[in-house]
Symmetry: C2
């Protein structure tokens, strides 16, 4: 079951491709420049051992066409809407996983939400209710994703209006040996996306003794 | 250094009073009915050992007057603005700690933010810039607070526009043996307050094997 990662040559996309391929999920990276995507795919494949699934590279539309069911949108916030417009006709029957965080231009410690309220809601409005959009993976540091020596030890907060689509995405994410939580409808992306600039602020702060922070749900008895 | 807790007879207020008094911080509970506050104070004091600081009870204005520096607003969201209006003239020189989460009427799994964006921002707008407002303690379960057998094992996300006030509040909160993080300006309360209904959703969910969840910042090397 091949998944597509659009913006797959960026740090978040590369880290996800490595993690999913290692977990046995074939990945097609999508980039505006298909050649660059192919090159990145070959590089990433070289970092993995023989048993990993295949990482391929295509242009954006080619990657969406290659995906069986799920397409991860990992482009810069500035390319969010235009990318969706360019692939909308290919998404019929698929689930769009939106991991984009609308960070403020020039200030990664702040969020500049679109008029719809959040990137996930903007995607859902743009694609219409027939294409389910699931927000997820916003708060996982790219550095953590790319560091294959360590587990992803934070949790993944998942939201969206279509329960079946969310459950499919949660099952996919849990292949990465990480706990995914159903955090309600798409409107909750206003909160979940906005956690990322707070984590970035902590990472930058000289008063906090760590970087690449994540978020976890704490179970009192744990 | 006495602190006031307004809405101090509610579950959040009682739990905070117990924890602060046990940590040596004198508390005056404030309630619309001063007699009820006195009664709750006596009950709570009875739950604590001899070394604890004193818990007193007063009406709302009496409690604010009794506070040296910090006033915690823990009233129901519906009483948020009216309570602030009624004490505004007494807050000069003090810090208001706003822990109110504007949960949607009839649906604790959703948030209904005020026009200002969040309760913390609404409080800051109402009080004016001379009275610093710090948002904090939104995501700590009342059950966890009242269970003195166990540590509060989640983190506290603190926000506000006045750094000195935030640092004062963080130092106060850390007396509860909990980690407080400076999470930026008051606008970030839109995210932090909205985490609570997500936690409530997880607590209610039959698919999540725990209740009274909290939020934690995960340090990758921890």
């Amino acid at each position: 079951m091949t998944i597509a990662i659009l913006g797959g040559t960026g740090p978040q996309g590369r880290g996800l491709a490595l993690r999913f391929a290692r977990a046995g999920v074939p990945v097609t990276l999508g980039s505006r420049d298909g050649g660059r995507a192919e090159q990145a795919a070959a590089e990433l494949q070289g970092q993995l051992e023989g048993g990993a699934a295949r990482i391929a590279g295509r242009d954006i539309r080619g990657a969406v066409a290659a995906a069986d069911e799920m397409v991860i949108l990992a482009v810069p916030a500035s390319a969010h809407d235009a990318t969706l417009e360019s692939i909308r006709d290919l998404l019929e029957g698929k689930v769009l996983i939106d991991i984009v965080v609308p960070l403020a231009e020039g200030d990664p410690k702040a969020v500049a939400m679109p008029e719809a309220g959040s990137a996930t809601e903007a995607a859902q409005a743009l694609l219409g209710e027939r294409i389910p959009v699931v927000g997820a993976l916003h708060n996982v540091s790219a550095t953590v994703l790319n560091d294959l020596e360590h587990r992803i030890n934070c949790d993944v907060l998942v939201c969206g209006n279509d329960l079946a689509a969310k459950e499919k995405v949660m099952a996919l994410i849990e292949k990465l040996d990480v706990r995914a939580y159903n955090c309600g409808p798409a409107v909750n992306a206003r909160c979940i996306e906005a956690i990322t600039p707070i984590l970035i602020r902590l990472n930058i702060s000289r008063k906090v003794p760590f970087t690449h922070a994540g978020i976890r749900i704490w179970a009192p008895d744990a």
